[in-house]
Subunit: 110 residues, 4 copies
């Protein structure tokens, strides 16, 4: 996440004196709740219907997921981009292109 975006998200919380309410466990709960609210836009619908009718709401919930991700990374003293790069490196090893190409099997079945 661009440093400026991260700073804006953290400033938003700080200017309202809300850090006092944030702790890692409740941040993890919040992240899970927002992901569920995002999923709710697809309930009883096909992907097409959901994108047709609920795109703005999906975008808002995705934003909430990203905002809580920023708070969690901050609580863990981690940099968002390092977190992603480290996992991509692990995934490269678990799913080498020559074995994983075009296959949706879990790495233990490659």
């Amino acid at each position: 996440m661009n440093d400026d975006i991260v700073r804006q998200v953290l400033n938003f919380r700080q200017s309202r004196n809300w850090e006092q309410f944030h702790n890692p466990k409740d941040l993890a709960i919040s992240l899970s709740i927002e992901a569920s609210e995002l999923l709710e836009n697809f309930q009883w619908k096909t992907s097409e219907e959901a994108l047709d009718l609920k795109k703005e709401n999906i975008a808002d919930e995705l934003a909430d997921v990203l905002i809580y991700s920023i708070y969690l990374a901050d609580a863990l003293d981690l940099n968002i981009e390092d977190v992603v790069l480290n996992k991509l490196a692990k995934n490269e090893r678990k799913y080498p292109v020559d074995k994983a190409f075009g296959r949706k099997d879990k790495y233990t079945d490659l």
Copy 2:
């Protein structure tokens, strides 16, 4: 999210020919599942115990949440940073500093 990170995540998928398996509804399901796996690190533990024992795993699951967020934004043809900025603007209006300072009430109760 830094454009380079987004590109690396999308390239990872493309070089393995995996886009064929991705559709918005299943991406939303996946995002929810990863958020739940992140939360599982805090099950039966305090925030402190979880950060002490499970920090690497929490970071990995946070990465998975962010990676699926990138795929979803791509599926919706949205830019991650615009998505966050739009929501911050909405939140600014719902939670003006003078009313929301130090209060965890929902905006309907401000």
Copy 3:
């Protein structure tokens, strides 16, 4: 839930001296985690594929959801069957048959 089933589930926990670890918030977290593990069986699959390949696992996760529901009801000092009957009564009022027949609209749109 049949009283005998409830009693067996509570006895299972008691004979292992596990009540000490249970508190309502972590029980709610656990219920959410198990529901997510159940959903994971449908990830990237159609309903038919999931039932074909993963029926036993779905049944096991459904059992975990029900077991945690029993622990939560116990923590709230509620009877499982009263809980369901009360909600059915509320749903009857929100979705009268003459208005709701064949319609999947939310009650606010009836």
Copy 4:
């Protein structure tokens, strides 16, 4: 679940002609969403605060979890009580009392 409760839940759906909208994958999604709505009552709160302020809402969401569990069991052609009993039997073998008494370790660590 008492046969009568199951029948009342299935009748509620049938009299509104709603089975047409239910398929196992969307039922699994719905179950996950309801579990998350239940968990939301504990967000930013201790167990005590949540039970103090939100007990009725928690009971309603627990009912929704149980109702969707009944629909899922029906979709899988399974009996709710058999599902729970089978899992309890598996858990008995994974967590024998003499090894698991008073310990919250996962069975692989017993």
